[in-house]
């Protein structure tokens, strides 16, 4: 920033004037006249016309100006700061967008699929142990989308159902991949104890949310759920997915790439060319 002196005839400001107030007051009185008495409106009209005349004379042929009032107060000049700028990261400058490095999205997706697979296996084992049925857990999960399932007996839920299998797998796959992606994006932002975050904290919070809303979202599951097993299966997912993502190699974001690289130009030497500018 710098400044330039104004032109030689000094600073001019528009003169104070009562015209706007009179015009506005007259206009309001005219409006008020509609609901009170025509005399009010007439007075309003006269006031408004007076205001308009003053206004017109004030701004024609040229706006009436006055020199700016003198003042002794002047701004203190802005001085450069001592000692330079604190940088967000030691080598990236203060304009760095953090995180500088992220886990690749693929790690989130693959981690999610892995976690989802292990979790399903775990949950199906629970179904086998508790009710001796391979399909029990799947049907319960499918109850989130299939409305009839809330009223079924336990025996009916233990039986094999095609639509239950399809919907259950669909929910499991979509949720696993979605949560895996979210993990992949958020984990780099957690400063420490990432595995704790992914394997304990989030599963517990998720379970709490489920506990509060299950009777609305999935009544079938709500009636038959065993919370210890539910939380345990969430933890299994968290451990597997978190582990997979954390062990994946981080990659830098595009923010430090050169423009030509970002738009995908692969000419050798392009970057060096750009750097000269």
């Amino acid at each position: 920033m710098s400044t330039q002196p104004h032109d030689e005839h000094g600073i001019e400001l528009p003169q104070p004037t009562s015209a706007p107030m009179f015009t506005a007051f007259g206009f309001t009185l005219m409006a008020a006249g509609l609901v009170t008495n025509w005399v009010v409106a007439a007075v309003g009209f006269i006031t408004m016309m007076c205001g308009i005349v003053i206004w017109f004379r004030n701004s024609n042929p040229d706006s009436r100006e006055m020199p700016a009032p003198a003042t002794d107060r002047h701004p203190t000049p802005v001085v450069p700061k001592e000692g330079g700028v604190d940088h967000l990261l030691s080598d990236a400058g203060h304009r760095a967008r953090i995180p500088m490095e992220i886990h690749p999205y693929s790690a989130g997706i693959i981690g999610g699929i892995l976690g989802g697979a292990v979790m399903s296996g775990f949950a199906v084992v629970w179904g086998l142990i508790s009710h001796g049925s391979l399909w029990y857990t799947v049907n319960l999960l499918a109850g989130a989308m299939l409305s009839g399932y809330a009223d079924m007996t336990t025996e009916a839920l233990c039986a094999f159902r095609t639509e239950g299998l399809i919907v259950g797998i669909l929910i499991q796959v979509v949720m696993s991949i979605g949560v895996g992606l979210l993990y992949g994006v958020t984990l780099p932002l957690i400063p420490r104890m990432r595995l704790f975050f992914s394997a304990i904290l989030v599963p517990l919070m998720w379970s709490g949310l489920t506990w509060a809303s299950i009777s609305i979202v999935n009544p079938a599951l709500g009636d038959h759920i065993e919370w210890i097993w539910f939380i345990a299966s969430q933890v299994v997912y968290g451990v597997v997915t978190g582990w997979w993502i954390i062990r994946s190699e981080k990659i830098g974001t595009m923010q430090n790439w050169h423009y030509l690289e970002r738009i995908g130009v692969e000419t050798p030497g392009a970057r060096e060319m750009g750097a000269d500018e």
Binding site: S2, N60, P61, G93
Partner: protein, 209 residues
Amino acid sequence: MTTAPAMLAPPEAVPQDRMSNGKIGVTCMIISEIAFFGTIIAAYLFYIGRDINGPYPQDVLEVSVAPLKVLFNSIFLLISSVWIWLAIRSMRAGRMGAFIFWWALTVICGAVFLVGTGFEWYGMIVDDGVWMGTNLFGTCFYTLVGFHAFHVTMGLIVLTLILVLALLGHVSPRNIEKVDLVSWYWHFVDGIWIVVFFVVYVFGNQPIQ
């Protein structure tokens, strides 16, 4: 960046070409007026054919004759846009005599339009007995056409004021910006009339099937 010297000279700031404040202001005012008229026109279109009792527009606006009368009337308003454009052109060229001539012609044409509207209203109110409270057609017609006539009147007052000032010799080519902006407003009033004309006398006046 690694070799940045302590002080760097910023690039020279380039002055920009900008529209004048007055032009931006009047453009915005016209946009707000369009929003205003747009609402009333939308209400008019919404109520076409919804009347539950007559007289219907087809009875009052006389399908074949009246639109021609109004068209004749409208031509005065529309052509005044040309006159005001010529007036501004003369003023730009510094020919104040020509400016006054064209400007006066604009005022006359605008006044003729208003008188025509007055006759139309007189006929409708006295002969046909249609007023605001008669039915939906009356409500919408007088509101829409009335607001347009109100804007024409406002414009005419300002135009006449400038004409008087010009005759007294208070208007010179250095006032071109303000006078030009008044002409913008006049063009807007004309333009909106084309829309009103089609809505009221064409779409709203289809013969009953």
